[in-house]
């Protein structure tokens, strides 16, 4: 199993490297010169050239890439072209917001979704199962801004609670204040991840429930709850953790629509700003952070799946 994990780790590293190449050279082929952007239209060619040399932009691309990669590994993401602030400072602030919302969403959404999905698998074909399937399929089909709009209409305009816009400082607020502050975006995100989690956990458990060893457990007189929790779940962990990890990665990296909709300052809005100001150093840094988040979460999911597999844990 150790060799399997090392192999996954190796694949993860290769992925990160490949993505770093794409990110670096992808931003290079964008039109516009960083020095020119930074200094503005009025700068003299001499100034621009001098600034280029200072940024190292006069060196061959491959050297620039290696320097950038080295700096990235040392934790130095460079300086923003738009604001002259270190990228790591820019990101650190936003990262807290995003991670807070993601973690709360995960803490609320994942257990509820898995419980609903597993219950549907326990009673397949019942009214409960069919209603849940209908709701989760509808949620998949509904775009995030639609769900968000419905929630805002209901809570802010009809019931008069919650915030339609959650921009502003989170400093100095207690946990409950924060939760109330972020209630609507978190609820929207919960709906988004719930549909896939419900459907996948239901399918994973149902798949195991049709295996002969479950029939054997029934014929041994094992109670239904024990069949699900002792016999079936153990064998469904692999696929379930994978879906959970994919959804967590989505929460960190892919919530642009929700962040923009509620106007809160997370990583996704930061990358939108980076694109608007052509701050490619910022885009590179964020790209790498998103990529690392994905790779690390998937690695954790793989290790969890390996660890839940008796054949891998205890080879012959």
């Amino acid at each position: 199993m150790t060799s399997l994990i090392l192999k996954r780790l190796g694949i993860g590293l290769v992925t990160v490297l490949a993505v770093s190449l794409i990110i670096f050279f992808g931003t290079k082929i964008l039109p516009g010169d960083a020095a020119q952007i930074r200094l503005g239209q009025s700068a003299t060619p001499e100034n621009v050239a001098a600034f280029r040399a200072r940024l190292g932009l006069d060196k061959p691309y491959i050297v620039q890439y290696l320097v950038w990669l080295k700096n990235f590994m040392m934790g130095d993401l460079g300086t923003s072209l738009a604001s002259d602030v270190p990228i790591s400072d820019l990101i650190a602030d936003r990262y807290k917001n995003t991670v807070f919302v993601s973690a709360l969403t995960a803490a609320i959404g994942v257990p509820i979704s898995l419980a609903l999905g597993i219950m549907a698998a326990m009673y397949p074909g019942t009214l409960y199962d069919r209603v849940l399937t209908l709701v989760s399929v509808s949620l998949v089909a509904a775009p995030e801004f639609f769900t968000a709009t419905l929630l805002v209409l209901l809570f802010v305009f009809v019931l008069g609670i919650g915030n339609a816009i959650v921009v502003g400082s989170t400093e100095g607020k207690g946990l409950f204040e924060l939760i109330a502050h972020f209630a609507l975006p978190i609820t929207t995100l919960c709906f988004v991840i719930a549909s896939q989690l419900i459907r996948m956990s239901r399918a994973a458990v149902l798949n195991v429930m049709s295996s002969p060893y479950i029939e054997m457990a029934i014929l041994k007189g094992v109670p239904r709850r024990r069949i699900i929790f002792r016999h079936a779940l153990l064998n469904a962990i692999g696929p379930i953790v994978n879906v959970v990890a994919l959804n967590l990665a989505y929460l960190v990296t892919g919530v642009i629509v929700v962040e923009v909709y509620f106007g809160y300052n997370g990583l996704a809005t930061l990358i939108v700003q980076g694109v608007q100001t052509r701050d490619y150093v910022l885009i590179q840094g964020l790209g790498m952070i998103f990529c690392l988040t994905y790779v690390i979460l998937m690695l954790i999911a793989d290790i969890a799946a390996f660890a839940s597999n008796a054949r891998l844990r205890h080879p012959k």
């Binding site: 002969p212 054997m216 014929l219 041994k220 007189g221 153990l234």
Partner: protein, 613 residues
């Protein structure tokens, strides 16, 4: 732990038991049409019949259980006088695993892969509260010992994949017996096993059933196995009882035509002369397929050789129109050899020739014409046929791909192919799931023949089929061989089937050829100790055979050792009654050639082999 035995003590009784299948549209189809029989304490009643006879469905009724899509439609199944068909799941739970226990065909599928063996074995009595954990563990240990499992103190602390198939089958018996049930239901518990393993398991089952004083329902299609374990036989056909009575009566004096058909389908013992010499009109100079000095295995090792060597130095020549049978226990490399022939697994050493010309070892490098010459027929027709394609498309695809046939000519050829495998033309419009197991296997064969191949590789093609259906498929293969001149490679762990069909036999043991030659020379008399063990393990249809066989020296030695893939010495050393210490375990056996075409790999001289048992 034997209980007081009273022969009139009825444990289970089926009274006019009826079970229906429920179709999608809600209509019902009778599957079991009113069945009556009794099982008394200490008695083993065998339910025999082909698949579709309802035998498994009836046996599950003893647990008050219907497979999804079935329902009880009338009558009673009385366990200790209580009608289990009328109970709901909650009322049945305390009975299942406690009063009646089930043993399925495949232990490998029946054990939960993620839970330790001991927890699964002791689960029923512990959750039912009839035993404390300590008592259940003690009971399990005594059962492991009674079932002659190796290392009984520690075997329960392993996961199912860490023990062998035969051991798992016996552990399933321990799981069923741990709650000390009054009735055991055994559903084809040895069908999936090698003959050599089957003996061990049958012996253990029989002994334990006797010691525990339980009653049993034994479901099987194998009359020879029934003769070893059962007291009474119930013959089922199409959900009805055709005949019932004591074993001796049914086996020796049965007058019923269906029972007679079942008996006729019993494979004869592998005997000399059964290998049917085929005609020579298709013979040409070059054999259809030659494999020379083949080494093959899986994974990648250090020096470019496979990590796990499966085949070592195998030589086979398949003459035109002839059949080569490949036999051996599971894991001996039979299927790997077929994959090498087909180009699915390039050998790590050795050469392949088609029709006298060298051919690429891997599939991708072969020309279309070379691909056409070698076709594969898989064991599981169910999974080999695309469920979403009609028979038309399944057969039409190779016709287009290899022969370039389209339109009317293709349709005509499909009809011819169906005719060849004795199926009526309207079947071309059907989907695979509309066919029976035997019919699917025929389509599977027709698909291979559509390419007009020279060699057809048949991997256990009858193993998943019932005796009667399997016998019909063999008949079909024989007539195809006569008519088409196609060569067959016939892989099976079933010696009798191979013997009745093959011109030449290759006996594989742990990836090496133990013995090889014309069927009659290999089998009469069997020279190699391993061939001998295989033949003596095929059950005979007489009571007492099991006891006679397990007492013989050959079987005792053969059962104690395990199969090892060794680099040095003879792999059969640990199980061989004629093994020479200091020689067989150190030096690879020499290749002796008897006559001109009979190869025996053994340290013993041929005279010694004949005298040695």
């Amino acid at each position: 732990m034997a209980r007081k035995s009273d022969s009139n003590d009825v444990i289970f009784e089926a009274r006019d038991l009826k079970i229906n299948a429920v179709r999608d549209d809600g209509s019902e189809l009778p599957i079991v049409k009113g069945v009556d029989f009794k099982v008394r304490r200490g008695e083993v009643v065998a339910l025999i019949g082909e698949s579709g006879s309802g035998k498994t469905t009836i046996s599950l009724a003893a647990l008050g259980y219907c497979k999804p899509g079935l329902k009880f439609a009338g009558g009673e199944a009385l366990l200790n006088g209580e009608n289990v068909t009328a109970m709901d799941t909650e009322a049945l739970r305390p009975i299942r695993g406690e009063k009646v226990a089930y043993l399925a065909q495949s232990a490998a599928a029946t054990f939960n892969p993620s839970i330790l063996i001991n927890e699964q074995v002791t689960e029923a009595p512990v959750i039912h509260g009839s035993k404390t954990r300590e008592q259940a563990d003690a009971k399990a240990l005594s059962l492991y010992k009674a079932l002659e499992l190796p290392d009984p103190e520690n075997i329960g602390a392993r996961y199912p994949h860490q023990v062998s198939g035969g051991q798992l089958q016996r552990l399933m018996a321990a799981m069923a017996l741990c709650g000390e049930p009054d009735l055991l239901v055994l559903d084809e518990p040895t069908t999936a096993l090698d003959v050599t393993t089957q003996i061990e398991v049958l012996k253990a089952f029989k002994q334990v059933i006797k010691e525990e004083g339980a009653a049993a329902i034994y479901v099987t299609h194998d009359l020879a196995v029934v003769a070893q374990v059962a007291d009474h036989i119930v013959v089922l056909y199409n959900g009805e009882i055709k005949e019932a009575g004591p074993v001796e009566t049914i086996i020796h004096k049965s007058e019923h035509p269906y029972t007679k058909r079942l008996m006729a389908a019993i494979k004869p013992l592998p005997e000399p002369g059964l290998g049917e010499a085929s005609n020579h009109e298709h013979m040409r100079d070059a054999p259809a397929l030659v494999a020379r000095n083949i080494d093959a295995g899986y994974g990648k090792g250090a020096d470019g050789a496979p990590k796990t060597m499966v085949l070592r130095d195998v030589n086979v020549a398949i003459e035109r129109g002839k059949t080569v049978g490949i036999i051996g226990e599971s894991g001996c490399g039979k299927s790997t050899l077929a994959r090498v022939f087909a180009g699915l697994l390039p050998p790590s050493a050795g050469d392949l020739e088609l029709d006298g010309h060298p051919v690429a070892p891997n599939l991708a490098a072969r020309t279309r014409d070379e691909l056409r010459r070698v076709q594969f027929v898989y064991q599981m027709a169910d999974t080999a046929l695309n469920p979403r394609q009609r028979i038309n498309d399944i057969l039409g695809r190779p016709l287009e791909f290899y022969g370039g046939l389209t339109g009317a000519r293709k349709a005509e050829r499909i009809n011819e192919l169906l005719e060849m495998v004795e199926m009526p033309p309207p079947f071309a419009e059907r989907f695979p799931h509309e066919l029976s197991g035997g019919q699917k296997q025929r389509i599977n064969l027709a698909r291979a023949l559509a390419a007009e191949p020279e060699v057809v590789l048949c991997d256990e093609v009858t193993s998943a089929l019932d005796t009667i259906v399997g016998a019909n498929v063999i008949e079909l293969l024989k007539s195809l061989r006569r008519e088409t001149g196609v060569s067959f490679v016939f892989i099976s762990h079933d010696l009798s089937t191979v013997a009745s069909f093959a011109d030449e036999i290759v006996v594989l043991y742990a990836g090496r050829v133990a013995e090889q030659g014309p069927t009659d020379k290999v089998l009469s008399p069997p020279y190699h100790p391993y061939t001998r063990l295989l033949i003596s393990s095929v059950p005979e249809m007489r009571t007492g055979w099991l006891e006679d066989t397990v007492a013989s020296q050959e079987t005792i030695t053969g059962m104690t050792g395990g199969v090892e893939l060794t680099d040095i010495g003879c792999p059969f050393f640990a199980r061989c009654p004629l093994a020479i210490e200091g020689t067989c375990d150190i030096t690879a056996p020499p290749r002796r050639i008897e006559g001109e075409d009979h190869v025996i790999e053994c340290h013993r001289e041929v005279d010694e082999l004949l005298g040695g048992g």
